[in-house]
């Protein structure tokens, strides 16, 4: 079943957030028309490209299954919106008005009261930065994310993942679905606004709260920039991360004792500091730095794989740090059937990820073929004319 089967989405957005949101709606059955300007979505020109193609791999993943149109005298944005259920855009109301679409931020939207309008900006719909350019990197810096990587004395690092863009894309799918649920009752659509900065601040709610008015100093949860980079615990080969009892509760200690006994880590069992601050010396506890060297001296005798297995055996949590390509190839990820093969335009196939959740009833579709720039302009124009 495809919950969005009769839903038409018009996407006028570039890069990642809007296109990712429309992709997931497409997976759920929606018909997505991607509106592009003369040079096309900038993501088309990003590196790396698909083999034997000029299309960027990221563009393919985020735009597979969509149709691409360029606006001309036969196909206006206003006409597209008249026939749509959902409009996802990163353009301001002023930019849209210049294209002949008036009142996109009015309630109701007079030209099509049923239209759900999802508006994505860098910095928010109000305020002094409203019209400023932004980016994934700029959003991470402004939301304070870069302070939790690297150290004070070295050049800043960003999170390698595009967390602001993908995070906003996910929130935008929520916004669309919630507005469609409301529409099913009220019969009218509405405007919803989101921004990259807003999304990143929402996704750090735990840290906002931790810094509000803390009773006690709790290390990296309160600071961040003054702590050394977190690279896990060294072993005989790859570093691992581990914790007993998560970050809370004393229930992890019996497992920790058994783990140390089986591994022969007698020095840890005999060190009185582990009695006193042991609970906070694994995971991301405040005393991790104080005792890390003690662990690592013992861990050097084992491989990451051996240690992870031993820790899990004694009810601890552990994983070795692996690259995403190894994570995708791991039997666990394979068991979830995350990666699928879909056709590309030139007859080749491309591996992509499926919808990130599974349902007992809904069957997300994994469509192939990302459109060439403006490929569907004429067919869509003919459809609109009816």
């Amino acid at each position: 079943m495809s919950v969005l089967k009769k839903i038409r989405v018009v996407e006028f957005a570039e890069g990642v957030p809007g296109p990712l949101a429309a992709l997931r709606l497409s997976d759920l059955g929606a018909d997505v028309i991607k509106v592009e300007t003369q040079d096309g979505d900038w993501l088309r020109h990003a590196a790396p490209a698909l083999p034997d193609s000029h299309m960027s791999a990221a563009f393919f993943e985020l735009n597979r299954g969509k149709r691409s149109v360029r606006l001309d005298e036969h196909l206006t944005l206003a006409a597209l919106l008249k026939n749509a259920d959902v409009f996802i855009t990163d353009r301001t109301p002023e930019e849209l008005a210049a294209l002949g679409v008036d009142g996109i931020d009015a309630e109701p939207y007079a030209a099509n009261p049923k239209l759900v309008r999802v508006s994505i900006s860098f910095w928010g719909d109000q305020g002094p930065l409203r019209l400023h350019k932004g980016s994934e990197l700029a959003a991470q810096a402004m939301a304070g994310y870069t302070r939790y990587l690297g150290s004070r004395d070295t050049p800043s690092c960003r999170l390698g993942a595009d967390v602001a863009c993908a995070g906003t894309g996910i929130f935008a799918v929520q916004a669309t679905l919630a507005a469609l649920i409301a529409r099913a009752k009220s019969g009218t659509g509405q405007r919803v606004t989101l921004s990259l900065l807003n999304s990143l601040l929402a996704l750090k709610s735990i840290h906002l709260a931790a810094q509000s008015d803390p009773d006690v100093y709790a290390g990296p949860r309160v600071g961040g920039a003054n702590y050394p980079p977190e690279r896990g615990w060294k072993t005989g080969d790859e570093p691992i991360f581990f914790a007993f009892g998560g970050s809370v509760g004393a229930e992890g200690r019996p497992g920790w004792v058994k783990f140390c006994e089986e591994a022969g880590f007698n020095s840890l069992l005999e060190d009185p500091r582990f009695d006193k601050i042991g609970r906070d010396s694994t995971g991301y506890g405040i005393h991790v730095q104080a005792l890390r060297a003690e662990y690592e001296r013992e861990f050097a005798r084992y491989s990451a794989e051996e240690l992870v297995a031993l820790i899990r055996k004694h009810a601890g949590n552990a994983a070795s740090y692996q690259r995403a390509d190894h994570a995708l190839a791991h039997p666990q990820t394979q068991a979830l059937n995350v990666v699928r093969e879909v056709p590309a335009a030139n007859g080749a196939t491309v591996r992509v990820r499926a919808f990130p959740a599974r349902f007992s009833q809904l069957q997300p579709e994994i469509k192939g073929v990302a459109p060439a720039l403006g490929e569907h302009t004429q067919t869509v124009a003919a459809e609109i004319r009816g």
Binding site: W42, L129, S156, A166, D213, L328, A357, F359
Partner: protein
């Protein structure tokens, strides 16, 4: 809309909180020992700030699932709800009799959201998980750090938990829409693993489609150039040009317009190929003037350019305040706490952020309402 939330820690609770922010009535069910986040440091006036941020917009009742009587009450309560959220380790929920099959029998319309670490099938289905575990496992941490380093975890716990909650909310809303269109209830399965891969969407696409092995790149990204931090006369600036037009603006702002016509830098793909040559040209230019200047001229040319902020500098920033990106919630017992504002702003649907409940505060009222529903009288 009524949501029953028997989850603990972050990924499950924030799913229910997001549904609460969208206007649902959320009933959090805590064990007598309490959700562990109540004690995670730091506390504020004795209550875990983690608990306060993850449980906004909820009522709170205490049930002891070790007692058959309370398990029966839980099942009765679930029969009155539209959504059920749980993040027990795979296998535990069946023992409690609160698995999907059991709930479906009493409430076929329920949307049942099961959140796990690694998914419900496969060799690690029963393995425990937490934010840093998934940062390590999913490749998220190995994308971070200075070039040439192997990895650096995000020293900022809970990011992947909240990402998982966000994906879970997306999936629950899809199932609720299906129901609103006349479908039945269903089970929704969300794993931290798949959520962690979703937040890495672009980097994984670059690997799957383009063969690019994921690696730490400092402040740079693999796909576009320029997109990185530059040292200035004082503070660093973070600058991005997404396309050729923005790159031309970047060159004008640097007073080096000729760079835009340099054959090495004519297109994004060429700039990616010659990124070191470009940085060698522009880094000394940035270094000669302060961050304030570069922000002014880049903005004038339509190019993204900002400085890094921190809690103390962004919390009162007019942009954050005017868009209500942070909610400063006054609580009865714990003072005012800053938590996530609404991630979406609806023109019509009323949404809001309300203080987390005192543990067990609503047990009597919710159970009385349940008894009244059973006897056919709405309380």
């Amino acid at each position: 809309m009524r949501v029953m939330d028997v989850s603990i820690m972050a990924a499950g609770p924030w799913t229910a909180a997001l549904l609460g922010m969208l206007g649902a009535e959320v009933i959090k069910v805590e064990p007598p020992a309490g959700d562990g986040t109540r004690w995670v440091a730091p506390t504020q006036k004795g209550m875990g700030t983690n608990y306060m941020s993850m449980n906004v917009n909820k009522k709170d009742i205490v049930l002891d699932f070790k007692k058959a009587e309370d398990r029966a009450t839980a099942l009765e309560l679930a029969a009155t709800c539209d959504v059920f959220v749980q993040n027990f380790r795979v296998g535990v929920i069946e023992r409690l009799g609160l698995d999907y099959e059991s709930l479906r029998k009493v409430n076929p319309d329920i949307v049942y959201c099961a959140i796990s670490g690694f998914g419900e099938v496969g060799p690690l289905a029963k393995a425990g998980c937490a934010d840093y575990i998934m940062q390590a496992y999913s490749g998220f941490a190995r994308l971070n750090g200075a070039p040439g380093e192997t990895l650096e975890a995000f020293r900022f716990t809970g990011f992947l938990d909240l990402t998982t909650a966000s994906v879970a909310t997306e999936a629950v809303l899809a199932a609720l829409l299906e129901r609103a269109m006349g479908g039945s209830g269903q089970k929704v399965e969300v794993s931290m693993l798949e959520a962690a891969l979703e937040i890495q969407a672009t980097r994984i696409a670059e690997y799957l489609g383009g063969g690019l092995i994921p690696a730490p790149r400092g402040s740079e990204s693999p796909g576009i150039v320029p997109d990185r931090a530059f040292a200035t006369l004082d503070d660093e600036v973070f600058v991005t040009a997404h396309n050729d037009a923005e790159f031309a603006g970047f060159c004008r702002a640097l007073e080096r317009p000729q760079l835009a016509a340099d054959p090495r830098f004519l297109s994004n793909r060429l700039r990616v190929e010659h990124r070191e040559a470009l940085f060698a040209e522009v880094a000394p230019v940035f270094k000669a003037r302060p961050a304030l200047w570069w922000q002014r001229v880049m903005q004038r040319e339509g190019v993204a350019c900002t400085q890094a902020f921190r809690f103390e500098t962004f919390r009162h920033h007019q942009q954050v305040v005017m868009n209500e990106m942070i909610a400063n919630v006054a609580t009865r017992d714990w003072g005012t706490v800053s938590v996530a504002g609404l991630p979406w702003h609806f023109a019509q649907t009323p949404c809001g952020v309300f203080e987390a409940p005192r543990p067990g505060a609503d047990t009597a009222a919710v159970l009385a309402d349940l008894a009244a529903r059973k006897s056919g009288v709405r309380a």
